[in-house]
Symmetry: C2
Subunit: 398 residues, 2 copies
């Protein structure tokens, strides 16, 4: 596959320095072979590929003209503005998804789960666009595609059928959206998407912004269906703000129920939304991952997709400042993400994929706090970026 | 003072493009003189110097070894860790303050108000260190020094006398700290610092983390004293989280009372502390400024001191995503700061100081959202940084 390479003096996840060997694209025991490439990491930290577990590749405006945001404050205002922008700005899902994926490659983001809009105006065009990117970039980054009914499914006749089309076209995951506040019928929405998931044998990832008790009720419905259908380890809840808004006993009980069904929770650590109780979630063994959500789009004007910076946002939102806590937020953006989105061969053990990100920092906490940019990114033994600069052969990919 | 310079095609605060002339260090009408230096801004936005209205220059660890943070979660844990670090790490206030001020110069931070610790262990050594930096860098950046009783004043006998020493040594502003939760006696604390302020004829800047009703009570005490002593426009409250925690009528009444006494409020937009109601504060005419708080210290491991990034944090914490709101957060970090800390000659009018920061962005909102780094910084007509690179003669200043 690729030539054997040797990375000397790297510190996996901030641990003791070791030499790492990648042979045929996977970590291997050091052998007698002379490596064809040798990199002196100089004691830098080695992270496995950063995991972007929640973004919207089809809707970023990266590289396009500035979008003047005059959008109102409600979620519905934003959904309308979003659909209007798709029509009027001519956002090309293939081109834009490739731009974002290539932009985040230099940070070491090697795995992306993207929600991709399906609606009755655009049909599955965005799904097809991101599938084209997924295939074009398959030697550089893994992309998982969630068929996402952004504009609502039940209230917009034909959307469920389009989601079925999206799954047949090659989407990887069935998406869902606020079963009560947008869908107006939590049971029927959840039954429909669980059924779609079962029919295609694909996992589920459900946007859940519902707050407090309404959100908790929806989570209970999700837990019940996951258990009844034996879908443990195949369901993710994205956002789940309600988990940060319940009285302590109920909060813990619900987190334990999610953990028991191995339902993962994705949180972006938004500064303006309720903070999730990260320490308690960890204590209860919940699978937690993170993502950038949309970057530079009509919803939010900022974002660069750097998942190490995201670890900082998680810590900041939770008032975490000590090294142990920062190390945990780094774990969420690597191993947590890998478990949540179901990656195989993730880590530094012999046989794992030969992917790593070298970060110049003394400790993991420092890497999170200062997010050094001069990273070296290696995937399957191929050097994609060196000291923060994308390899020359990749500069014109998107 | 400096040679006349001409900046062509710059857009002051994102407005229409103009040519700006700086003569003898101040903005002037274009004349017949041939400029000695001409800069083509190419339509970049011109901001006046960014205003860092709240930091702790004496305690940053920038450029030092990574501090492993094992500090507990309470404010008292942090104060103890902070004092211990000053002893054990040998944080040199002169050196460290110069490092931070020079680091933020390339972002265009030309005005800094720094709280500087005064306590019974270090005495006024940190004040003297930052005064040395203030003088050494006076041709590059304005530094205001607040004599700050970080470890408490009333509970630690001798601290008030040290603050008096600090003011006589050349501190610019009298500081205060949580009058109830740390000082244990709000009336006596406030009476003491207002008296010190009156005796030295210097303004006040009071750290107020007290929450909800306790904070509101302390704010009322501050309003009462400001009115009684006719100190309108001379008092700043830093943090003031309680303003984000009151029921709407009381919230508005208190904000109106602060505005009536021209008491400024400083907020950093911390993701883990209550968000201040920025829209309401603006509507009531309150003077609002912002700051980085400590950067890379024992309190918080992160931070770069970029006040344009700070404008982004303010917007993110408040869930503000539209262009109009982002423009307002940029205003807080420029004109708001200038008004709060009492800068003269701030702006682009003829006679104002010839200070500006060119930012490559289409709109102010884009500048806030994406915080471009390639800024050109000019102070009193002298080019301090060009396209994000500090001028060669400044590289070894700190």
């Amino acid at each position: 596959m690729t030539a054997d390479i040797l990375i000397r003096n790297a510190r996996p996840f901030g641990g003791a320095p070791v030499d790492l060997v990648i042979r045929d694209g996977r970590f291997a025991v050091p052998g007698a072979n002379r490596p064809t490439l040798e990199i002196d990491a100089g004691g830098q930290i080695a992270l496995p590929g950063l995991v972007e577990a929640h973004t919207h590749l089809d809707k970023t405006l990266v590289g396009m003209d500035w979008f003047e945001n005059r959008v109102g404050p409600t979620r519905n205002d934003r959904i309308l503005a979003d659909r209007k922008a798709k029509r009027e700005l001519g956002i090309d899902a293939r081109r834009q998804s490739a731009r974002q994926a290539m932009q985040t490659l230099k940070y070491g983001v090697l795995h992306i789960r993207s929600h991709v809009d399906v609606d009755t105006e655009i049909g599955i065009a965005n799904i097809e666009g991101v599938i084209a990117t997924r295939e074009a970039l398959r030697d550089l980054v893994d992309i998982q595609i969630v068929a996402f009914p952004q504009s609502g499914m039940l209230p917009r006749a034909g959307t469920l059928e389009l989601m079925d089309d999206a799954m047949r076209a090659g989407a990887d995951i069935v998406g869902g959206i606020d079963p009560a506040s947008i869908e107006r019928d939590p049971v029927r929405h959840l039954d429909a998407i669980f059924a779609l998931s079962q029919r295609h044998g694909k996992p589920l990832d459900i946007h859940l912004h519902e707050l407090a008790d309404l959100g908790a009720f929806c989570l209970e419905l999700i837990v019940e269906r996951t258990r009844a259908l034996s879908m443990q380890g195949r369901v993710t809840v994205s956002h789940g703000y309600c988990l940060g808004m319940l009285e302590p006993n109920r909060q813990r009980a619900l987190i334990e129920a999610l953990a028991a069904e191995r339902i993962a929770v994705m949180t972006v650590g938004s500064p303006s939304a309720p903070a999730l109780p990260l320490r308690l979630m960890r204590e209860c063994g919940l699978i937690v991952c993170s993502g950038s959500d949309g970057i530079q789009g009509t919803w939010e004007p900022w974002g660069n997709g750097d998942m190490l910076e995201r670890a900082k946002y998680l810590a900041q939102r939770n008032g975490m400042t000590n090294d142990a806590d920062l190390t945990e937020t780094a774990r969420i953006c690597t191993f947590g993400g890998a478990e949540a989105i179901g990656l195989d061969g993730y880590g530094f053990t012999e046989g794992d994929f030969g992917d790593l990100v070298l970060v110049p920092a003394q400790t993991l906490a420092q890497a999170v706090a200062l997010t050094p940019q001069a990273r070296t990114v290696i995937r399957r033994g191929r050097v994609l970026a060196r000291d923060g600069i994308l390899s020359g052969d990749l500069l014109h990919v998107a």
